[in-house]
């Protein structure tokens, strides 16, 4: 039963409740970095990785430190500090361990601290009262959902380089309209699964 609900949450986070296209989180880096497919693959992987681990760490901190000490009202500050510290740590480890990985992922890591989808996932998990397993499933699913959305967007924008765009629409304007059309497609998934 527990396993099933984690599974449902995982798929719902990718398709029906996509963190980017239905909850609008992580827009800034989505618009800024979606010009090329390979850079967006790098950012997408980094986001998925950080999101999965910070949701697990934040769950543990929230339930074993903040709740017993009655410090729940400090959660925004604590969560964002944990996310920033984790990102910094990962950056340092990657830099030591692998040059190739650092070249492809490292440059995106500082961007991730202020990616609102990461903090959003941690906050949703608290509001919805997920268990530990479900939080990890939700973090991983949301990361993959974000990853899918940014790759699709980058693919479309690469093709768009060669087409003529109406005056004024180039840049953020057309990107948002494409995101709107993609969101319509994702609305089509709704009803398959439901996240309360």
């Amino acid at each position: 039963m527990n396993f099933l609900s984690a599974f449902a949450i995982f798929f719902a986070a990718i398709f029906t409740n996509n963190i980017l296209l239905t909850n609008y989180l992580g827009m800034c880096s989505f618009l800024a970095v979606s010009r090329k497919v390979d850079t967006s693959v790098g950012l997408g992987l980094a986001v998925t990785f950080v999101m999965t681990f910070t949701s697990a760490i934040n769950w543990l901190v929230y339930h074993f430190i903040l709740t017993p000490l009655d410090l729940v009202y400090l959660r925004y500050i604590i969560f964002i500090v944990i996310i920033a510290a984790f990102v910094q740590l990962v950056e340092m480890i990657i830099e030591r361990v692998s040059d190739i990985l650092y070249a492809s992922l490292g440059i995106f890591l500082p961007l991730i601290t202020v990616n609102c989808s990461i903090l959003g996932v941690s906050l949703f998990m608290v509001i919805r009262d997920y268990t530990f397993i479900n939080s990890i499933a939700y973090g991983l699913g949301s990361g993959i959902g974000w990853f899918l959305a940014i790759i699709a967007m980058a693919g479309i924008r690469e093709k768009m380089d060669r087409s003529r765009i109406p005056n004024g629409l180039e840049g953020a304007g057309i990107a948002l309209i494409i995101a709107g059309i993609m969101a319509m497609a994702f609305v089509g998934f709704s009803g398959m699964l439901n996240l309360s």
């Binding site: 296209l21 239905t22 909850n23 609008y24 989180l25 992580g26 827009m27 800034c28 618009l31 009202y73 400090l74 925004y76 500050i77 964002i80 500090v81 920033a84 500082p110 601290t113 202020v114 990616n115 609102c116 990461i118 903090l119 959003g120 906050l123 949703f124 509001i127 109406p166 005056n167 004024g168 629409l169 180039e170 840049g171 953020a172 304007g173 057309i174 990107a175 948002l176 309209i177 995101a179 709107g180 059309i181 969101a183 319509m184 994702f186 609305v187």
Partner: protein, 198 residues
């Protein structure tokens, strides 16, 4: 008249939403109605004012390497204050805005102003800048909220507009948000280009 210039630039020339395309997450998410737009705009303005003030005061004490985490902690503190205030005095608005109040912490517009302006300018101009950008943000959110409410639920600020008009629920959903803002950004850009040519 530098102060006046710093104030007005945030409203039109460097409007955070329409020109800089910053702070889009709350802009897309909460603007299902004009009232929500105003509420979110004012909450963000308060946080921006607080963070610009503090950042401008502490800018010389913060080591360069840890400045971004420091700024985020300052912002998170003000966001916590706003959330508590909203919960106590405007519970309905707090419910409607939901998760997006805490998410002001990672609103790139606020961090952007701290990094680009308050960490380089004195207290007075930082406050003026925060007020200008805040007003620009609030106006943008109100405009988007009004348009979406008009098309999506046939009302503005909760008042019904046209009798018997079947509203397009599409505009209250996610795709409507993206399309509305995309079109508005395009309009702003086209006007700016025209002005430059003349």
């Amino acid at each position: 008249m530098r102060a006046w210039k710093e104030f007005t630039k945030g409203i039109i020339k460097e409007n955070p939403v329409f020109v800089m395309a910053l702070g889009l997450c709350p802009t897309l998410a909460v603007t299902t109605s004009a009232v929500n737009g105003v509420g979110m705009g004012l909450a963000s303005t308060f946080v921006l004012l607080g963070s610009n003030t503090v950042v401008s005061i502490i800018k010389k004490m913060v080591p360069n390497k840890v400045r971004i985490p420091m700024y985020i902690v300052v912002i998170a503190t003000f966001v916590t204050l706003v959330q508590m205030f909203m919960k106590a005095y405007f519970p309905a608005l707090d419910k409607a805005l939901g998760l997006f109040i805490p998410l002001i912490v990672v609103n790139c517009m606020i961090l952007g102003r701290a990094e680009a302006f308050a960490s380089k300018n004195n207290l007075f101009y930082s406050i003026i800048d925060a007020l200008g950008v805040g007003v620009g943000f609030t106006l943008a959110l109100t405009l988007i909220g009004a348009i979406r409410e008009m098309l999506g639920s046939n009302s503005v600020f909760g008042m019904q507009l046209v009798e018997g008009f079947q509203p397009m629920g599409f505009f209250v959903l996610a795709p409507g948000a993206f399309l509305t803002i995309g079109v508005l950004i395009a309009i702003f850009k086209a006007i700016e280009k025209k002005n430059k040519e003349n």
